[in-house]
C-alpha cells in the first residue's frame, strides 16, 4: 500500500482546493493507502475545534435543517479512519492564535513535511492561488 503526503495552504470556506484534497485523501484511504496531511498557513484553521454550524437566513433554514458542515468535522471523519495523520504547522498556528483543535490533529513544522515527503510514495503540494 502507498503512503501519500498532502500539503495544504488555503484557509477554510474560501477555496476549492481544500475539498479536492479531502476527496483525494478519502479516496486513497478507501483503497487502503495511508495519508499524511501537512496544514500550512491558513490551512491550520481547518481543524479548529470551536467551528460552529450556522443557519441560513437566505433559505430560511435553522441550524438543524441546514446541517451546515464544518471543515473540522470533515477532517475528524478522515482522522477517524485511522489512516490519516494530520500535522498543523506550529508557527502558523501561533501567529493566528489558532491552537484549539479537534482531537487527532497535532503540532509540527516544516521538518515533519520533509520527513513525510522522504517517507512517502508521493507528495502533493496544494498551495494558495
Amino acid at each position: 500500500m502507498a503512503k501519500l503526503t498532502i500539503a495544504l495552504m488555503d484557509s477554510p470556506y474560501e477555496s476549492g482546493t481544500t475539498t479536492t484534497a479531502m476527496r483525494i485523501a478519502d479516496a486513497a484511504v478507501r483503497k487502503g493507502h495511508t495519508v499524511n496531511v501537512f496544514a500550512y498557513e491558513g490551512a491550520v484553521s481547518l481543524t479548529m475545534k470551536e467551528q460552529k454550524a450556522h443557519p441560513n437566513p437566505v433559505k430560511g433554514t435553522s441550524v438543524e435543517e441546514q446541517k451546515h458542515p464544518t471543515t473540522a468535522t470533515f477532517v475528524a471523519g478522515l482522522l477517524a479512519t485511522g489512516k490519516v495523520d494530520w500535522i498543523n504547522c506550529g508557527m502558523c498556528v501561533d501567529e493566528r492564535g489558532a491552537g484549539n483543535w479537534i482531537e487527532g490533529a497535532r503540532r509540527g513544522g516544516p521538518a515533519d513535511l520533509l520527513k513525510w515527503a522522504n517517507d512517502s510514495t508521493n507528495t502533493l503540494i496544494m498551495g494558495s492561488r
Partner: protein, 127 residues
Amino acid sequence: MAKILSIVERAYHGTIEEQDDTILWVSHMLKNAGADISILLRGNAVNYAVMGQDASGLKFGGVALEVPPTLDRDVINLIGAGVPTYAVREDLEDRGIRQTELAKGLKLVSRAEVADLYESHDSIWHW
C-alpha cells in the same frame, strides 16, 4: 440609493463547505436588506446558472455532507427575489453551455455590452 453590480467570477471555491457561493449568498442578504443590487456571472461562474446540478453524495470517512449546495436553485431564487442576474454570453459559449440549460430569467450580455452594464450601475463590486 446606489445601484450595485456585483460581479462573480471565481466559482466553486468553498461552495461545499459553505453549501452555497458566498457572493451569491451575501448578495441575496443585501437584497433582503433593501439593496438595489444586480449580479453579473462571468468566467467560470456562468456555470452557476446551469440547471440540474447535483453535488450530493460527498463523504469523508464516515462523515457525509447531508445538505449539499444547490447553486442552480440559488440563482433561481435570486432572480425570483428581484435581483437582475446577468451572464456573459461568450463565457457560456466558450464552455459549451446552451441557453436551454440555463435558469429561466437569466439575462445574457455580450462582452461588448459589459461596459454599458457597468455604466448603468453606480457601484461595481468585483469580488
